[in-house]
Amino acid sequence: MALHIDETVAAEAGAAHRNPPRGPQRRRRGTLRTWLEIVVLAAFAVVMLFPVVWMLETSLKENRDVYAVPAQFFRFDVTLDHYKDVFVQRDGSGTSDLAVSYKNSILVAGTSTILATLLGVPAAWAYSRFALKAKKDQLFFILSTRFMPPVVVVIPIFLMYRDLGLINTKLGLVLIYAAFNLPFTIWMMKGFVDEVPAEYEDAAMLDGYSRFEAFWRFTLPLLVPGIAATAVFALIFSWNEFVFAIFLTSSDSARTAPPAIAGLIGGTTIDWGLVAASAMVFAVPVLLFAFLVRKHLVAGVTLGAVRR
């Protein structure tokens, strides 16, 4: 009997019948199915990754190969000219507008992430530890601000920023991105704080530490990995954001990379090689960040609400 169970579990792909076929035959069908599954999976993977590979190829091609019909998959001359164009002006006079926008992106995404973390982590801790009035409603309210359609919010923000002189400034973007990331930070961090036993703080307070010290000296250090993961997610969101960036900035000095890259397709002829190169340069940090938080992905993409 035991042997039989092992066999069925091992050949888990094989369908059970009233009269199961003999061992070897059964297993062969199992392996056939396994191979079929692997092939299907590989096909999915190829389709999913092809656009990225194609963009990478395009960014490395000479222009005549970029516009070649039919498309050239393997036979093309490799050049790094497009990458040079991303950073240096065509006529060789200093940095390009794209390079400036990358710098703006780094500044805006970085600062807004720090701001969201500084405001969000203490709030998350407080929501996790204290019995507050209408706590559930407050948390629901916080999350609901995250669901608002950006095009809708951007109309009054635009008017408000115009009056406050925040339009076309990096500070304006930093504030809106921090507000945009705050619900996420609070929800995700609350999950991490919930996992640190409150008894640690109680013990510290019995030792004579105040509540704040208990948080600062004992809980906070335990939260560092969670904070790092949350911050990386916030960084990715701010880095990729487009709607607020395009409507709240108009000059090269404040514009972040997404609208700047989108601006490349404005004219009648589009330099796809340059578009590909700038998209690749822009995507590399995100992929790196995503790799860093791969363990927290499920919690991250669902606002920390579902944990793995």
Partner: protein
């Protein structure tokens, strides 16, 4: 910062000294207020206040380019929107897009997750590779695909030609443009559903399958009565989340088709943008936006209700 109240006392032998009780003045109540208030203040300033402002504007005929003060017009904007044939058309486009894209993503994402969950080796690597599209900016994704779907030198048509099919005018024909939008959105967000489904699938306890195989349950029976019921709640959350996101989609439409050709890919979000920033009919756009927010709130309610249910089990 606060001054130290009590200096460290000389330690008694073998007994740990009581810690210096600094920040004593920070009681629980004051501490929680201090920790939460700044976060709520920022949200009130940049989320609630703008929304209330939009609510006010939605009852007026204000225009951001004219300097005339706003005139109160009561529910005229709302009446116009709800009875306008144009808006009904946009709502239909949005509905087709949301159902098409989210449906496709769910089927594909779950299938991929199911296949991955049956593999033992290379699971982590495969998951990471599949997640790449999701991490990219909508701008980058839109540009990737605009290039690939180009009628003349796009690689998709190139492949179709070499396989003996004719070229397709992906982004310039009314019917295929919406399809292209759905395809691109599916490409980007299938990994999301896959990720959630995979989390659910790997959490199914093994002993259930073992019990089922003792009973010689068929593969389909196992899937239908063990796998699906256990993964379903999580999958539903992913679907709701995606539905909310797809409903408010703007950037991809802007980059990929700019609402065209004609108005065939003009979703509600894109229409709001046109009314607000090309027509500068700020009052009407605000009313429009408020209606969209109401839809999102209803969807979000379902999302949170399921979340609550899932957490309590």
């Amino acid at each position: 910062m606060a001054t130290t109240i009590s200096p460290a006392e000389p330690a008694a032998p073998l007994v740990a000294p009581p810690a210096a009780r600094r920040f004593r003045w920070l009681g629980d109540r004051r501490l929680s207020a201090m920790f939460i208030a700044p976060a709520l203040a920022l949200l009130l300033f940049l989320s609630v206040f703008p929304l209330l402002w939009a609510l006010y504007l939605s009852f007026t005929n204000y225009s951001a380019t004219r300097d005339t003060p706003a005139q109160w017009v009561w529910f005229d904007n709302y009446r116009d929107i709800l009875t306008s044939a144009t808006v009904h058309q946009r709502a239909l486009t949005t509905l087709m897009y949301v159902i098409g894209a989210v449906g496709l993503q769910t089927v594909l994402g779950f299938s991929i997750a199911y296949l991955i969950s049956r593999r033992v080796r290379g699971r982590g690597l495969m998951t990471t590779l599949f997640l790449v599209p999701m991490m990219l900016s909508p701008v980058v994704v839109g540009l990737f695909w605009r290039f690939m779907l180009d009628t003349q030198f796009g690689v998709v048509n190139s492949l179709l030609n070499s396989l003996g099919f004719g070229s397709v005018e992906w982004l310039t024909k009314q019917r295929t443009a919406l399809l292209s939008l759905i395809v691109v959105d599916t490409w980007q967000w299938t990994p999301f559903i896959m990720l959630i489904a995979l989390a659910g699938l790997t959490a199914v306890p093994k002993y259930l399958y073992e019990a089922a195989s003792i009973d010689r349950a068929s593969e389909w029976f196992r899937f239908r009565h063990i796998t699906l019921p256990l993964v379903w709640p999580l999958l539903l959350i992913a679907v709701l989340f995606r539905a909310i996101e797809a409903f408010r989609l703007f950037d991809l439409v802007y980059i990929l088709t700019n609402g065209g050709p004609g108005v065939s890919t003009e979703t509600l979000s894109f229409h709001v943008y046109k009314v607000a920033f090309l027509g500068f009919d700020t009052g009407a756009a605000s009313a429009y936006g408020i209606l969209m927010v109401l839809v999102v709130i209803v969807l979000a309610q379902f999302y949170l209700r399921y979340l609550e249910k899932l957490r309590s089990t």
